[in-house]
Amino acid sequence: MKKQSMWSLRLSTASLVLIPVAVGVNYIGKLLAGLLKLPLWLDSIGTVLAAMLGGPIVGALAGAINNIIYGLTADPISFVYAITSVAIGLVTGILFYRGYISSWGKALGAGIIIGLVATVVSTPLNIGFWGGQTGNVWGDALFAAVLANTDSTWLASLLDEVVVDVPDKLLVVLISYGIFMGLPKNIVQLYNQNDKVETLD
């Protein structure tokens, strides 16, 4: 069974239904993180799962729609960070399809890579829109400390984002991998809509 290119732009109905669910998963992840007062966002589990199940395009779409919804329901600045969510979806999809998220150990490494990518994409946005801050208490405290001791807003902003994003994405990828392993195989198969119908005649 040969896998077709992961870049297929034709979305199956199953993938199409998956994307809103992914956004919902992001939403309740954030909700629960808030409820349990965890100092993490945990708001990209759905995007990561969508990318693992449906590939980079589905992951990117889930990320984009996620931020459109946040923009419409909570915080309009979220629209801007759609770029970060898209990057998370793309990178996760590529890593997964190349086999870099196929064990707990590899998922750990992938989590760090995804966290770093998110950091690199978010930092310029943080600088442009918030003067470099992330809005996370611990990260912003570090931002203030670095800014007070160096003269680089960029360094301060990058560190602010790294300390929040890398642990966050690491846990997100591990949680998503765990959920992925728990899914029935026929559901996983559903999104992998590249096979042709074989004939039994």
Partner: protein, 281 residues
């Protein structure tokens, strides 16, 4: 005239080793009501899905044989094309809600918008099915706020509004409480009165006996029997296939009371009553 013709249908799900449908052949005439029975995973849902084209187009997998729905060959037509001929209602009322419409009225319109029904016609059809399935009073409610029975009637209404000539019902009451089930069976009764060709996979044998013209008994993806309810339910090997005959049949079987002038047992309350009265005389 045959509405559905199935010839040598074979199907295997992706990743599966065994055939889910194994050389199935039968045909259904216009206006007939067919009951599909058998134990869980005998192939009832798969067969229903093969008639509307979800098998093989949705799942892919391996496919053989032929299914003709009102002359259309399923294998070579899209699900959207087939949906104009045959509609399907699923087990879980909840997962069938599209999730993109805010009211029952709009929910029913979903399919009609997709197949390009003009506005005025659309409104007429929606009003008609709301009335037919007695859900007019909830037409402005959010679809997710309905009871299970109402939701399932909305699902049937949404399909019937598309005016298919055939409808498939896959255990439409298996996830409903007794009240909800009764509401849905009344809706099924009104479908029967409309003269639509109906195939229903169902576990409640009393209902199968009451509504169906013929019963298709499946086991491990193969057809065991395809005959009138009286003949199928009078078999003495039903338990081998995980099926229990209607309670009326079992009572009459125990009493050795057959239908007048026939070699089969009664399958409905009415028939049992008639046969028992006959015996008393």
């Amino acid at each position: 005239m045959n509405k559905i013709v199935v010839e040598g249908l074979k199907y295997k799900y992706p990743l599966s080793e065994t055939l889910a449908l194994d050389n199935i052949s039968f045909s259904v005439k216009e206006g007939e009501f067919i009951g599909i029975i058998g134990r869980n995973s005998a192939g009832k849902s798969t067969l229903c899905q093969a008639i509307v084209g979800l098998v093989p187009h949705f799942y892919k997998g391996a496919y053989g044989g032929k299914v003709l729905v009102d002359g259309l060959e399923v294998k070579t037509h899209s699900i959207a094309d087939i949906s104009l001929k045959a509609g399907m209602v699923f087990q879980n009322p909840f997962t069938q809600v599209t999730g993109s419409k805010m009211t029952v009225y709009e929910e029913i319109a979903f399919g009609l918008e997709n197949i390009g029904v003009p506005r005025t016609e659309m409104i007429n059809r929606i009003d008609e099915v709301l009335h037919l399935f007695k859900i007019e009073h909830v037409k402005d409610h959010n679809p997710f706020d309905l009871s299970g029975g109402q939701m399932q009637r909305m699902a049937i209404a949404s399909i019937i509004a598309m005016k298919p000539e055939i409808i498939l019902l896959d255990e439409p009451t298996s996830q409903l409480d007794p009240g909800g089930s009764e509401e849905v069976f009344q809706a099924v009764q009104s479908l029967k009165n409309q003269g639509i060709t109906i195939l229903m996979a169902e576990h409640k044998m009393e209902k199968v006996a009451q509504y169906c013209d013929k019963v298709l008994l499946l086991e491990s993806g193969k057809v065991v029997d395809y005959d009138t309810p009286e003949v199928v339910f009078s078999r003495n090997d039903l338990d081998v296939f995980g099926v229990t005959a209607p309670v009326y049949t079992k009572v009459c079987q125990a009493l050795g009371v057959k239908k007048k002038g026939a070699d089969t047992y009664p399958v409905t309350l009415k028939e049992a009553e008639a046969a028992l009265k006959e015996m008393r005389r």
